[in-house]
Symmetry: C2
Subunit: 429 residues, 2 copies
């Protein structure tokens, strides 16, 4: 049974605080293992990759192949069910269009003091995309991570993915072909992240690494943050659905389950102002679960991490949502805009009764890689900016340095940095 | 003596690669100490802060005060040398103007399929600013870190700074007053970072932590990245100056020394196409060093990490600069624009003979907090964006979900996520 809270109960504040603070992230301490793997790949390169890949994936890189050829990706695309291919291509096109509008503009202007200043955005030279093997190998995730990189103008986009016993995932390869991934290596785990960061004889290093992964992959990215750029520190996924009684309980139940079915650590929270509606949704969830091929996962997630929060008025919802700062926030209410105007912290918001979160996972266009675990307080979803960087620039002529230089000299002297002061003062003659 | 390379020498490629790969970052392993400090502050809060502050800073927080009052900051400003106050206020005004133009625009549009999509930027609720004690306590750094936060719209800006034996730095306090810092706590080190990230009874937690610090501070920020947002992983500072023979050697020497005087690990590199000019600059560096109050630091940095790279033509410089991806790049050449157009990786670029890097440190306007250690390949200088986050949103009506929903259903089914499929399919009726 999921947690059930009522904002009018005396113990609500403390109980809600517990819900906000509950850590769903597994405390697997893999940091020492990961440190060792990174050191070995950094030192021994491809030989270390071959060892680890044999050991963890049961794949012999030298005998079974290091790379998945471009032709193999194209073949996976060519043999795809036409309906699926069409869906993937629609998704790719919509993701491309949304992210193209994210490309930042350069600045270049001269101010009243005659100082020319500006900023120029450029793409990173190379990016790495991690794609998990097994259950979490999603073609939608390939599109969401690869297309922003390509839209940014990244020159070389390298995908790494474990191929357990050599097995590849045709859907993932087809998505790689559609997204324009430049190379695909059959390596995974922390060893693949280390190879991307430092490079090996075969695999050229990249500047930014993105993509989901297990605890080893996440820890490797965390440890290598600073050597390369990374997308974010990711935790279990979550959704908050704010819904009034005018909704179809079956729709809302399905929305809650669409999060719960991802992983036992996922979290689905319903906030509603109607106790009867809450009961109906809870009953619908129980009714729908057995029909799902993902029933076991969804049931565990809902029972362990799910919650129904009853509020006196939906006006209370915005403040509660900000406390949770959820990855996904669905506002299934009559006037979603009004509620959205009060929300400050959420990764992505789904407005109105006809916007299930799952359309955002696949085809709407905005990125589905979003901050989890209350990180929407300070972090944003993946974007073109994650694959670009800004170079500021300054240009002074003789008049401009005379206008603002004396202040720089004064400050440099006050800070005890005489060469700073001299470098400006010499230009003042 | 600094390293001297010539691109026409046979061993150049290898020698330049060594220069690029040289790590100047101290390998102090403070990670275990920092982990312990963070755990203690997280568990014991203010009591742990009081212990550490007594031990590391010789300051008794309970007897000597936890905070520097706003009135004390205002008093420091009021009693400041008027010329310095004017310089700080000019700097603040210019930094504010430059960063105000960085505020991102929201998006909101409806596409041909009837799908409304957009993104909304909001500031983080609270930000923490670390200001080192001792030599590296620079008022310019307070302005550069605090003003972008305020321009972003951060509600609460908390500064932490160690006050060894209770001593405060009036220049730093005056800068805090000018920048509008909301509160100043007399704590430093990893313990201050932990307090900002997790909060204590006295110090409320923040969402983003910025500002320079020693190895403990940097490691604490790295470990807490994900719990909070951080500005960047920072290393020793560096400058590359590309200069032709038409420059005054004394100006260029001062520019190189303005980097070298920061720290023995700082790096200054001259790239020029004229061996005679290189000799003159080298001689000027030696001539200027003894006159500096920072002579010892500057001499060590120049001897240990400095380099002069002679090239056959300045056209080679852009590619070399990209390999180094320097924090600061000065282009003191006849046509700096032409060279700048070829450069891809640099934190900030200073164009022309009248733009010493030091004007950027203080008064030009762009931020002086920049990526170091080749991180300009993937990272940008501090900006208003570091204190904001983007919430994407999607709104579909009945027609729009019918237009793009079927593709989402197909993809969800292919990915084995039936509740995702159902949440969309139910809306298709």
């Amino acid at each position: 049974m999921p947690l059930r809270l009522d904002s009018r109960d005396p113990g609500f504040a403390a109980a809600f605080a517990d819900l906000v603070d509950a850590r769903r992230e597994a405390d697997e301490d893999v940091s020492r293992d990961v440190t060792a793997i990174i050191a070995k790949v950094r030192g021994k390169g491809d030989a270390a990759l071959a060892d680890y890949t044999q050991r963890f994936d049961g794949h012999d890189l030298d005998a079974g192949g290091w790379k998945v050829d471009r032709a193999e990706c194209e073949a996976a695309l060519a043999t795809l069910d036409p309906k699926l291919r069409e869906a993937l291509e629609l998704a790719a096109e919509r993701i491309r269009a949304y992210h193209a509008a994210q490309r930042p503009e350069d600045r270049d202007s001269i101010d009243a003091a005659g100082v020319r200043m500006g900023a120029r955005w450029t793409a990173v030279d190379a990016a790495g995309l991690y794609v998990p093997g097994g259950r979490a190998a999603y073609p939608s995730s390939v599109l969401m991570n690869a297309i922003p990189a390509k839209v940014a103008g990244v020159g070389r986009l390298t995908m790494v993915t474990p191929t357990p016993k050599g097995a590849t995932n045709p859907l993932v390869l087809a998505a790689a072909a559609i997204a324009g991934v430049d190379e695909v290596w059959r390596v995974g785990g922390a060893q693949a992240i280390a190879a991307l960061a430092y490079g090996t004889d075969r695999i050229a290093p990249v500047d930014v690494i993105v993509g989901p992964g297990n605890a080893w992959v996440a820890e490797a990215k965390r440890q290598l943050y600073g050597v390369v750029g990374i997308d974010m520190v990711a935790g279990p996924s979550e959704i908050v659905v704010v819904a009034d009684a005018a909704n179809d309980p079956a729709w809302i139940a399905a929305d809650l389950l669409s999060q719960a079915e991802h992983d036992p650590t996922s979290q689905s929270i319903l906030i509603t102002d109607d106790a009867g509606f809450a009961d109906k949704v809870a009953a619908e969830v129980e009714r729908q679960i057995p029909n799902l091929s993902t029933a076991a996962t969804a049931a565990t997630s809902w029972a362990d991490n799910g919650a129904i929060v009853l509020v006196g008025s939906l006006d209370e919802a915005a403040a509660l949502c900000d406390r949770l700062a959820p990855e996904h926030l669905e506002l299934a209410v009559a006037d979603p805009e009004r509620l959205f105007d009060k929300v400050r912290h959420a990764g992505s918001v789904f407005l109105g009764r006809h916007t299930p979160e799952a359309v955002g996972d696949y085809v709407a266009g905005p990125n589905h890689v979003l901050p989890t675990g209350r990180r929407a307080r300070f972090a944003s979803g993946l974007s073109v900016l994650d694959f670009m960087k800004r170079t500021s620039f300054i240009a002074l002529d003789d008049a401009a340095v005379r206008a603002i230089g004396p202040a720089a000299v004064a400050l440099a002297e006050a800070e005890g940095l005489p060469a700073h002061a001299a470098s400006v003062a010499l230009r003042l003659g």
